[in-house]
Symmetry: none
Subunit: 130 residues, 4 copies
DNA sequence: GTGGTCTAGACCACG
DNA sequence: GTGGTCTAGACCACC
């Protein structure tokens, strides 16, 4: 459950939090019925404002991933694992499609694209800045 | 030179325009010395606010891709083709790295990532929504 | 005395409990002098936090519906039946007024409202979800 | 488009705003394609904090009722009228069902319920407090 | 000008 | 203790 938010990568912090939780649920690190850390605790962990965490949690409630148990906290819903597994692939595929679409529409060949992807992957493995 | 902006893909419209022009220059569709369409004409073509086009052109001037020819309009600089060819790969690689980074940091394997990429590529070829 | 609380209908659980007891006293199911179940027992029955039951009982004491008999538990007061009969209509009327007010203030006609009420009543008779 | 929020009626202000807009769209007072008042203007009109209005507008975006036109404001979507007409009846019916259910489950007869409803309606017409 | 994000902090409802 | 609501105000992105 440990991770960090990057305030400078363009994706809003609350969305980074929501995406991270969805990934965690998708791979079983967070099971149905479990509680997520309290708003206040998560805010301390990530060194962000509690309202920012609350926004992420609220969005996840709207998506049916989390459920309020009044007075005790927020729990992962029973349907969440299914939802998140579906969402995980979708989130990544969607971003990839957007990049591929731009590249191909602007005349790059698939070979060039593959080469770039290989480069990018190598850079990520080496820990380069995104 | 025909293309459309997608107001819903997260990338600011002015940046989509600038990126498109750089791609066009990189593959020679727009040669050094040629003029780009006027702000007004481009705005009409893309059904976009003229200020948005102006913003894209201004950014391109700052990058040395376009230069003002007083009275006649904006022209592609002589150095632009070289700049844009270099930028083209970089623009795509950067977006790819960002996606890969998120995916790998959240526990997807490279195999899963490859599968998703293949999916995404297939979807783009078939013309699916990005 | 059997009933269930609905954690998702907007009314706080402690208030659902208090309302239920008042209804029970109003129609004689619970007579003056009788004891209500202990906080613990009621909490088990309803699968609810004991503090929540305690809160309901406390509110009812403040309203003069229950009184503490030291050592033996909480009993229905002699005045409770009268109080609760009066309150019963009031509780329902108040909620109805709130709904009607919103509807009429937002342009629904009384005819439309009547139709919706008839619909709602039919649904309740058929046991639909509230 | 004029209305007032009541900070003391239990319904959150942002929800009162959202509900009001849905009612307005449902009865055609606000047509598809029209812009809603800006966050700041609405905040002044209702004498509430801009963030509160923004929250209502954001919820309506999530429901597909409003749509962001970047830089120019928020517009009513084309599907909104249909959505809101459906929602209008649903919002009222749902509240009514909840009241009826409670009343009937606790032993009130339909005749008593009808009498209470008539009373409530009379009170609302006379402008009594809800 | 528009909305969006984030921070900060008060207050309340609930258990 | 939990989350929710609301206010206040700074800063940014976009048009």
């Amino acid at each position: 459950m440990l991770f960090h938010v990057d305030p400078h990568n363009g994706i809003p912090i609350y969305e980074q939090i929501a995406r991270h939780l969805k990934f965690s649920i998708a791979d079983g690190a967070l099971a149905a019925g479990e509680h997520v850390p309290s708003v206040r605790e998560m805010a301390v962990r990530l060194a962000v404002n509690p309202n920012t965490v609350a926004r992420a949690y609220r969005d996840l409630q709207n998506e049916g991933v989390l459920e309020l148990e009044r007075g005790t906290g927020l729990a992962v819903t029973t349907q969440a694992p299914k939802l998140c597994k579906a969402a995980r692939g979708e989130m990544v595929r969607q971003r990839l499609q957007s990049v591929f679409k731009e590249a191909l529409q602007h005349g790059l060949t698939e070979d060039e694209l593959n080469a770039l992807a290989a480069d990018a992957l190598r850079n990520v493995r080496k820990g380069k800045k995104s």
